[in-house]
Structures are given as structure tokens and as C-alpha cells.
């Protein structure tokens, strides 16, 4: 029966190709715009590391100015980064499964080849746990060992792009990379890795690509590295030496820990409180005790990572689809009612109301399905245009969830738009049309 109805529906669509084209194009346009806008929102706000985002925690302790809180609108917020002193103290803990303090620094890459110009690159200074903690994929080699953290050993991890640029994309493990006049041995090359949100450090552009180069954190002292991200301070410190800066109350480092179960999380929180109480004795941390560990999604929410524009786009995209559906109702109504004489004859020959209703609904669903398929294709193009507008800073693309959602949405639009016109046409009284004929 269904196969028959689909065949009839196809026939009906072919009878007026212009009108059918308009109908399908309308659905396609609505689906394309809404799908690509929703994708934009979904990628800018979605979970960047769904497999373990509830087990990764951003550590926040309130070392800020006793007189003025970190955020006057949110007195409950501790600063969004940590001091060097506190990172040193907190990294002593052996509770977390993984833990890494990190920050980004700018360094100059000096290629081996004479004719290649040196260039600036952002380097992430991190501990060995950074790679397993964030499930960073490797193409060649691995991250460095915990003992290399201690050295610190002159080892480096580079991303696939840097590996292509400097070593022609081959297995470069064991090769030498020169940074700011010092040599480092490559121990690992990352595979393509592009979390939608730069969640482990949202200080500057929360959507930037991961860093190209990774060095052991403990080089911070010998190299006297400063953050190329944000650093904030509230307390004046005397002296111009790097040590003075390290010992100051400036916050400029991120600390992430992996805590796998409740017990571990509770223990770590007690550890934080004990640490701060100890520091209070030394005259620091004069604000009330305010330590928190934020799971990934809560942290992104606190830092208001999703741009307002993306939220607006989400709403506008959805409304656009609604307007297209209303439009669809109108055209379908016209199309079906124009066919009233024919339906009148069919009804007189014994077709039930239900079968007329179903027949027309199937036709609407067919339009929805065709429009949805075309719309999905279009939305790939629309996303490509959006990516170009963003200078490919983002890589918005459809994933399986979005394809399924768009398909359902298209069928739903066909159904919602089709119910009323189908109902109208199945109510046609056969007698009227028989008389005129």
C-alpha cells in the first residue's frame, strides 16, 4: 500500500514540476539554513571531550585581593588562573589520576634549512600528564615521560602541521628542533587534533587551534618564560627579576586534574582546603575559603565561552525553518485544493477519507524527504561559506547527529505542514464535483 502511495505521490509531483520544485526548494532552504546555524551553535557550545568531560576538572583557589573580589558581578568566583607558587604547591598532590599545570608562551622556531625564515609559534608548556589526560592522539612516538618532567629533559612534541612544515611529514621522532637558540629532541608527533573548543585554556580565543609545539613545563625557570596569554595581578611586587615575578601574586597558569570517582574528588577537595589553610598561616589567601573544581562543561559555562551571536543564530535558524513550513502549508493547500474535482471522483468511486488523507500525507512526507536531502547537501555548502567567512578559523561540519536531526526535522516539517492541507482535501464532498462534471 505504502509503495503504491509513494508511486502516486511521485506522479503527482511530476505533474507540476515548477510547483513541486518550489515546494522542495522551500523545504531545502529551511533545512539548509537551520541545520547549518544549529551546527554552528552546537559546535561552539558542545562538549569538546565527551568521553571524559565529567572527570576532568579545572582547579580554582581564591588567592585574590582581600578587598576586591575577582569578579564584582560574581563574588563567588575565584580567579580563573593560578599563581606559580600555588601551582608548585598543588602539583605535589598524588591524588589525581593525571594532573598538569600549563600555559602558553611564544617562541621562535629556527628551521634547519638555511633558506627557511625563522618564525614565531605558540608553545604550550605542560607536564607529561597533559597528553593522556586530554586524550591527545599521536601519529608518531608519544608524549614525554614523568621523569622528563623532572629534568627537565630537552624534549618536544610537535603537531602534524609543524611536522609537515619542518620534516616533510615523515616520522621525525629523534630529530632535533631548534627553539629560541636551544635544541630539543622530538619525542612525539601529534595526529590531527582539533577540539572544537580550546577548553583547557579559554583565556584568549576559546576557539583557537591547539598549540603547535609542547615543551616540559619546568623549562619555565631556566628559560624565564612568560605567558603569551593573560596574566592578572592585584598586588604590587618589588624587583625586576624573573624570580620576583614567579613569587608574586600574579595569576597566569591553568591547572587541570583528572579525578575518576566521587571519593577521589572529595579527597582532592579536602587536599585543596588543607593547602589553602596552610597558606593562610603564611599570610596569603586572606579571602574566605573558596576552592572549587569545575568539570569541563561547568568551567566553559562559568567563563561564558559560547558567544551570544551563536545563541542568536540558533534561534533565528529555528524561526527560519518555521517560516518555511508556514509557506509550505500555503502552497500545499493550493496544490491539493486545486485537485478537489479529482479527489471528489475518487471519493465517489469508494476511496475512504482515511486513504485520501494518507495519500496526501505521504506526498507531503515525500516532499519533506526530498527537500531534506537537498537541504543537507545545501547545508554543506552553507557551512563551507561560513568557514570561509571565518578564515577557516573554525571547521564547522555536519556530523552524524546533525544529519539525523536534519532528516527528522525535514520529515517533521513535511508532516506538520501536510496535516492541515491533507485534512482539508479529505473532507471534500464528492457530490459537489460530480454535479459540475
Amino acid at each position: 500500500m505504502l509503495a503504491y502511495q509513494i508511486r502516486i505521490a511521485f506522479k503527482s509531483l511530476r505533474r507540476n514540476p515548477l510547483q513541486s520544485g518550489l515546494l522542495i526548494a522551500g523545504v531545502a532552504l529551511g533545512i539548509a539554513i537551520s541545520t547549518s546555524f544549529v551546527t554552528t551553535y552546537y559546535m561552539l557550545s558542545g562538549d569538546p571531550i565527551p568521553e571524559k568531560s565529567d572527570r576532568l576538572f579545572h582547579v580554582a583557589v581564591d588567592s585574590w585581593d582581600p578587598d576586591n573580589g575577582w569578579d564584582s558581578d560574581h563574588p563567588e568566583y575565584a580567579p580563573n588562573q593560578l599563581t606559580y607558587t600555588d601551582v608548585r604547591g598543588l602539583m605535589q598532590s598524588d591524588l589525581p589520576t593525571y594532573q598538569s599545570a600549563a600555559f602558553k608562551a611564544a617562541m621562535t622556531v629556527q628551521p634547519e634549512a638555511e633558506n627557511e625564515k625563522p618564525y614565531r609559534e605558540i608553545v604550550r608548556m605542560a607536564f607529561s600528564d597533559f597528553f593522556p589526560m586530554f586524550n591527545v592522539p599521536f601519529q608518531y612516538g608519544t608524549g614525554w615521560s614523568r621523569s622528563a618532567d623532572e629534568g627537565p629533559d630537552p624534549v618536544v612534541v610537535i603537531d602534524a602541521e609543524t611536522n609537515r612544515k619542518l620534516f616533510g611529514g615523515e616520522d621525525s621522532v629523534g630529530r632535533t628542533l631548534r627553539l629560541d637558540n636551544r635544541d630539543y629532541t622530538v619525542v612525539g608527533v601529534l595526529d590531527e587534533w582539533r577540539p572544537t573548543i580550546h577548553f583547557y585554556d579559554v583565556n584568549n580565543n576559546p576557539f583557537e587551534e591547539p598549540e603547535a609545539i609542547y615543551l616540559p613545563f619546568n623549562f619555565v625557570e631556566p628559560l624565564e618564560l612568560q605567558s603569551s596569554g593573560n596574566d592578572s595581578g592585584w598586588k604590587f611586587y618589588a624587583g625586576n627579576e624573573f624570580q620576583d615575578f614567579l613569587q608574586s601574586e600574579s595569576v597566569w597558569l591553568q591547572l587541570w586534574v583528572q579525578l575518576d570517582d566521587r571519593r577521589q574528588q572529595e579527597e582532592y577537595k579536602s587536599f585543596l582546603d588543607a593547602y589553602v589553610m596552610e597558606q593562610k598561616k603564611a599570610g596569603r589567601f586572606q579571602r574566605p575559603l573558596n576552592n572549587r573544581i569545575y568539570p569541563v562543561m561547568e568551567w566553559l559555562e562559568r567563563e561564558e565561552v559560547t558567544p551570544d551571536q551563536a545563541k542568536v543564530m540558533l534561534i533565528i535558524g529555528a524561526l527560519f525553518l518555521i517560516v518555511c513550513s508556514v509557506n509550505l502549508i500555503g502552497i500545499l493547500l493550493g496544490k491539493f485544493l486545486a485537485r478537489a474535482p479529482e479527489v471528489g471522483v475518487r471519493r465517489a468511486l469508494g476511496a475512504s477519507r482515511t486513504s485520501v488523507f494518507m495519500q496526501h500525507l505521504v506526498e507531503c512526507e515525500l516532499i519533506g524527504a526530498l527537500g531534506g536531502a537537498l537541504g543537507l547537501g545545501l547545508s554543506v555548502l552553507v557551512l563551507r561559506v561560513i568557514n570561509r567567512w571565518f578564515d577557516n578559523q573554525f571547521q564547522f561540519q555536519l556530523d552524524l547527529t546533525m544529519v539525523l536531526a536534519a532528516t527528522l526535522l525535514a520529515l517533521a516539517a513535511g508532516f506538520i505542514a501536510g496535516v492541515y492541507p491533507s485534512w482539508r482535501i479529505c473532507r471534500v464532498a464528492p457530490a459537489t464535483y460530480l454535479k459540475i462534471q
Partner: protein, 411 residues
């Protein structure tokens, strides 16, 4: 006029009436809100920065040679770079600066009047450390006090009292924030611990700091210019003001010029406009996306109205024929359909105005967008009304071609 009969005829076919009304109302709500948002963003992007924006070039150099670790070397190089930049044809003036305005990356500290009570909250103070010729290069306008003088740039002796204090220049917004009653020039201002005391020697009309998109520091208008040598072993940056029209050729020349003066560093050249566009990039993309949606939406709605009106013309062919047979002219028929359409669109617009405010309220709550201005509403309503009329013209003209004898024929 025949408004009454037209309205009653309209009510005879309610579904068409409601569909067009709904479409017009929804479209108006979306279009008015989109236009509101995109004009707001555009205005924000185009607002006066106080700088000679189109003629400013930014040169960022990052050393990798160990020679740069010596402070004296950096200092001497900075002077040499500036001397050579200033003598390049097409350059009006050049300065060294440690951060770039309008770029999203900068430095901020806090200041309060020296006699303010210690528990009072200070003013968040974005600042730029600048070399001489700063005001001339940036193109900012001095409105009170004086420009920097030679002595203002001298480093104070290490360990001396108030070693880090300087004679500084504030923007009007910064002066107003610190001294609401005026008279900023000559005043002393200090950081929260009182270790640094600066003296205000001048006030400029306007200059945006590094974060004009943020509400922080009076929407980016609070700035303190602090004299000194901004270069370091980490980074040396310059801004160059070109003569009008010369910026493109300078853009390509300066990298070679800088490397010729001193190698061992990476040189990056960008216009200030490029920094600004980068900083605003998501907003600029949003403008494009919103504009496309508005255009598409108007097209879709217009097509919808064309479709529904054509259908109603087809349906009423016999009635039109009857009216023509009874003496109605072609103009009467066209007028009938236009008035009918005008009525439907009008009701749609009235409902749409309510919807517009509703949608705007939701957006304000959910996404922190600006409240809609009533002028946009008028504009949007006019655009919808015009779209509605234009969409009805073709079907109405077709209706007028129906021949009177149709009435005498059966289908």
C-alpha cells in the same frame, strides 16, 4: 471604498488569511530583530576610535638572537629603528609601543587619585607604554595639558623613590573616571598599594584601548599612556602612521627595512585595520550571516504570498468573471486584490509588531542583545508592507485578464 465586502470575502476563506498573516508576522519579527542586531554590531565596529585608523601600520618584531638579551642593545636598536622608520618616504611619524590598540590583547592596571580613601575601589586602567612621538603617530588629539617632553622618557635610577612613577597622559574617559569633577591635569594618581605614583600631564580627547568590545574601562575608552622604552628581549613593536595612500607600499617595504637594520628577529607587519577586523571577526561574520538570512527570508515570504494569492485568483476565476460581466473594470479587479492583500499584510504587521517585541525580549534575556529601537520596527513594517504589495501585483494583474464570458461558462 469596498473595505467591508472585501473583508467579509476574506473571512470566507480563513486559512489563506491566517497563513499570510502568520507568515508576515513571523517574518517581520525575525527581520526587525536581525536588522537591529546587525546595525548595532556595525555601529559598534565603526565607532570613532580616536585614532588615525586607516593610516596606521603595526610592526611586531620578536628577537631570537641572544644579543637582544642586553637591555642596552634593545634600547639602542629601538632608537635606530625609529630613526630609520621616520626618515622613510611616505611615513608621517613612528613610535614604539608595547601592546596594540583594538587588537584584543593588552595590559591593564589600576589607579586611584592619591588622596582617595584607601578602601575606595580604584579605576581599572588599560595602559600603553609608549616612546616619544606617540600622540603624533596615533593621531590622537590633545585637549588639555601638554604632550610628553624629552625628560618624561628618562628611566629613574634603580632603587630610587617612586622609581616606576611617570608623567602620564590620560584619555578624557580615564580623566572623567578618576576625577569626575574635572581638573585632572597636574593631579597625582597611584596604584592600589601606593608603590607607584604617576602625575597626569595631559588629556587626549579619545583613544580606544585593546578591548573596545568589552564593557570594561568605559567600553574601551579609558586609557593611560605611560612614557618609557617599551621594547624588550621578548618583543619590540612599532606603529607607523603613513601619509594617506602610502600605506600599501609601506606595508611591503618595512619588513626588509627592519631586517636590514638588524637581523636575528622575526618581523610581522599588519595594518591596524587588520588587527581590528581580526578582533571583530566573529561579529563581522555574524553581520554577513544575518544579512543573508534577512534577504532569503524576504524572498521566501514574497514567494509564499505570490503562491497563496495566485491560488486564490485561480479559485475565484468564476467570481471575477461574474464581476467583470456585471460591469467591473480591470482596474477594479486589480484594486480589489491589492486592497485585500494590503489588509492581510496590515493585520500581519500588527501581530508582527507584538511578536517582534516578544522575540526581542527573549533574545535580550537569553543572549544579551540590545533592545530593539522603534525606528527599526517602522522600517521593518514598511519593508514587509512593500514586499506584500509587490508580491500581490502579478497575481492581481493576472486576475484582471479574466474575461467576462467565463461567468457564463461552466468549468
Amino acid at each position: 471604498m469596498e473595505l467591508g465586502p472585501i473583508f467579509r470575502a476574506l473571512m470566507y476563506n480563513k486559512s489563506r488569511f491566517w497563513l499570510i498573516t502568520l507568515e508576515v508576522a513571523l517574518t517581520l519579527a525575525i527581520v526587525a530583530n536581525c536588522v537591529n542586531l546587525l546595525l548595532d554590531t556595525r555601529r559598534e565596529f565603526l565607532r570613532d576610535t580616536g585614532l588615525d585608523e586607516p593610516n596606521l601600520l603595526v610592526i611586531s618584531t620578536t628577537p631570537f638572537d641572544d644579543a637582544f638579551d642586553e637591555d642596552d642593545f634593545v634600547h639602542a636598536l629601538e632608537e635606530e629603528d625609529l630613526r630609520r622608520l621616520r626618515s622613510t618616504p611616505g611615513v608621517v611619524d613612528a613610535m614604539a609601543i608595547q601592546q596594540i590598540p583594538l587588537s584584543g590583547g593588552g595590559s591593564a592596571t589600576g589607579r586611584r587619585p592619591i588622596d582617595a580613601p584607601p578602601e575606595s575601589e580604584g579605576t581599572g586602567m588599560p595602559y600603553f607604554r609608549v616612546s616619544d612621538h606617540a600622540l603624533q603617530t596615533l593621531g590622537v588629539e590633545l585637549t588639555a595639558g601638554r604632550d610628553f617632553a624629552e625628560g618624561d622618557f628618562e628611566e629613574r635610577e634603580e632603587g630610587s623613590e617612586n622609581e616606576l612613577g611617570r608623567n602620564v597622559i590620560l584619555t578624557q574617559a580615564a580623566a572623567d573616571a578618576l576625577f569626575p569633577d574635572g581638573g585632572a591635569v597636574g593631579q597625582q594618581i597611584q596604584n592600589s598599594g601606593g608603590e607607584i605614583v604617576d602625575v597626569v600631564v595631559g588629556v587626549v580627547r579619545k583613544m580606544h584601548n585593546s578591548w573596545p568590545r568589552s564593557e570594561f574601562a568605559a567600553n574601551g575608552e579609558v586609557v593611560m599612556l605611560k612614557p618609557g622604552s617599551p621594547g624588550s628581549a621578548e618583543r619590540m613593536r612599532y606603529m607607523v602612521r603613513s601619509e594617506p595612500g602610502a600605506i600599501d607600499s609601506l606595508y611591503t617595504e618595512v619588513e626588509a627595512l627592519m631586517l636590514q637594520t638588524q637581523s636575528g628577529r622575526v618581523v610581522d607587519v599588519q595594518t591596524l585595520t587588520e588587527y581590528k577586523e581580526d578582533y571583530y571577526s566573529d561579529a563581522l561574520v555574524m553581520i554577513k550571516m544575518l544579512t543573508s538570512v534577512v534577504v532569503l527570508l524576504l524572498v521566501v515570504t514574497a514567494l509564499g504570498i505570490v503562491g497563496l494569492t495566485s491560488f486564490s485568483v485561480t479559485q475565484r476565476t468564476r467570481q471575477i468573471g461574474t464581476r467583470r460581466a456585471l460591469g467591473a473594470t480591470r482596474t477594479d479587479i486589480v484594486r480589489y486584490f491589492l486592497i485585500e492583500n494590503w489588509m492581510i499584510t496590515g493585520i500581519g504587521i500588527v501581530i508582527g509588531i507584538v511578536l517582534t517585541y516578544g522575540l526581542n525580549y527573549a533574545l535580550v534575556q537569553y543572549a544579551d542583545v540590545p533592545t530593539i529601537e522603534w525606528t527599526f520596527l517602522i522600517g521593518g513594517a514598511l519593508a514587509m508592507w512593500l514586499t506584500g504589495i509587490l508580491a500581490a501585483v502579478a497575481p492581481a494583474l493576472r486576475a484582471s485578464t479574466v474575461a467576462p464570458e467565463i461567468a457564463t461558462r461552466s468549468v
